[in-house]
Symmetry: C2
Subunit: 354 residues, 2 copies
């Protein structure tokens, strides 16, 4: 047994691995691998439809909100969002809360006028700015709900009268939010939803078609909506793993149920970080992420030894990102509480031995 | 046993399904699923490197040619190619040989001045134009080497003094070509190379960086080259299936060996189409594709019965595309000769019974 705390691609539910492995050999007793299924077959059309429907259901989306499974990762959304929503002179407000947010700002400059309304860069992105104003005339406010590298997460989503757009790559479906309050949500699947290689986009269709730019066919959300996420060959297997994971989440009780578990996992680990004299959390307490828990050792010289100790006990993926240092334990939806307990036990044991 | 003649996503070698299924449960005895492997792990970096290296080797590419595994499908390349290579007033020559070629032309109009140098549209794309001139001052000539829907394939690649660019989605690695003669080749993986969800791009790096446009980060080939196809999270599992299929092809003897088998398969099926009085090939003989064999029944009223007869014998995926009608049998690399023999036997049997 290996305990995988990787930041993404990352752990998925065991039953998803098991069902997916069967499907790679023989999908639904068809005698065919899921990998050789044409995307226009009734079987795959059913998978795509169920995956989209499950997102709608789990997020309680209204009829204005369309669900898409696209190629390209969240990094492609950094350009696709402004390409669809901004004319060259349009202003959009961006919150600079991490490397990924900064990348989104960079792409927006190619299509409109992004205005950085707040930044925590000078403090190494270790907190989330609370006091900032959003210009009335901006087309949207863009936030990153969870910052994977530093381990910050908006515990209260900023309230705005503007259109709200969020990169939710690392905390989508992990907690209850009013998802209808967002006009556009995007997320790479590979943390909470499925295998790498597919991106979930939830978009209020009423915000589309308001600009003058000629949008390339594959970049125009309206085309993907019209074709039910089958404008071209979708990443069949990645979508299938999403559907399996979404089924698992629904069976478990949906977002409300997983939020309770996620809260427990995060509380357990943060409590140990705060109690244990060897460790210190990296970010402001009120902005702590429940998905990516970042911490350092007070004595940096002991970090390698703890990493080794964890590895020796089959815990992997807890080395911090190079720009944050220390450790990062990612507690995505599929991570069981028992694995977090094991990590906490090892932290205690390491303290006793040191 | 089911015999899958789907046009794509389509059959892959049996051993690829088997190895991939094992890896979904437990990759390389690591105790982890390949789906939960971080893309920055040495294991996945090795997979990506091996996949790129195998393409280089199998295509005998020189050092100017870089191999990329990208998101987005060939449909994204329709825009990405002109976005990287054309300034707004630049001319590019396009051959209009099918629906996919026409889509490439449409996207090129957003970035430069595509000039359609030949078209077979008026004859339902059932042949490939031979006599056409390419303007000297054009930046490149774009061809679709194999037209999946109609079943045409350039048996002789057009010779040009211009930069040659090809959509090889449905015949890449199926036959020996001087791949270094192309400045850019792109192909969705899901026919000859692996699972759907990844696109192979081979590009001569010397043609890049010659235009004035600001290219979005994810669209600029140079960024993907610099990052070794890891500019963002790649479609991990799809890349893995490519590596497995490329290993299989190398073990089999490479492109030369598979071409011999592909020639045999196509010859067998076309011979039966020409012999059997019930069937007729759709396209000009000299332009017949060895990947997608299209044919109709002389008596259209019998088509449904033959389709049913084939299905009853576990042959699936031979219904023709709606814009071509009749039948299409796709004989991609992984399709064994024995399956083609079975199809031919059924055609003979159907003839005897009718």
């Amino acid at each position: 047994m290996v305990y995988n705390f990787n930041a993404g691609p990352s752990i998925l539910p065991t039953e998803v691995f098991e069902e997916a492995a069967v499907a790679v050999l023989n999908y639904d007793n068809s005698g065919l691998s899921i990998l050789e299924y044409g995307h226009r077959t009734p079987a795959f059309e059913g998978i795509m439809q169920e995956a989209r429907q499950l997102i709608k259901e789990l997020m309680h989306l209204d009829d204005n909100h369309e669900v898409l499974f696209l190629h390209g990762g969240a990094s492609t959304q950094f350009m696709q969002v402004p390409m669809n929503l901004l004319d060259v002179k349009d202003i959009a407000a961006y919150t600079d809360t991490g490397v990924w947010a900064a990348k989104a700002i960079k792409e927006a400059k190619l299509f409109g006028k992004p205005e950085v309304v707040c930044s925590s860069k000078e403090k190494g992105y270790t907190f989330l700015p609370k006091d900032f104003a959003v210009p009335n005339d901006c087309k949207y406010l863009h936030i990153t709900t969870n910052n994977t590298i530093y381990g910050t997460q908006w515990q209260k989503i900023p309230v705005t009268s503007n259109s709200l757009i969020a990169d939710m790559s690392s905390d989508i479906l992990s907690r209850e939010l009013d998802f209808n309050a967002f006009d556009l949500i995007y997320a790479g699947a590979q943390k909470n939803i499925g295998a790498a290689g597919v991106t979930i986009v939830v978009v209020n269709k009423n915000i589309l078609g308001k600009i003058k730019r000629n949008i390339p066919t594959m970049m125009d959300y309206r085309n993907h909506i019209a074709e039910g996420s089958m404008l071209n060959t979708p990443p069949v297997f990645a979508v299938y793993t999403c559907m399996l994971t979404l089924r698992w989440l629904k069976k478990l009780g949906g977002v409300k149920a997983i939020e309770k578990i996620n809260n427990e996992k995060a509380a357990l680990l943060y409590a140990e970080i705060d109690r244990n004299n060897l460790f210190t959390g990296i970010v402001e307490k009120e902005d702590r992420s429940k998905m990516n828990v970042t911490f350092v050792m007070n004595d940096k010289n002991k970090e390698a030894a703890f990493l080794q100790f964890a590895n020796d006990n089959n815990i992997i993926g807890i080395k911090g990102h190079r720009s944050a240092g220390g450790f990062r334990a990612s507690l995505y939806n599929a991570m069981p509480l028992s694995s977090v307990k094991l990590l906490v036990d090892l932290m205690k044991e390491f303290e006793r031995n040191n």
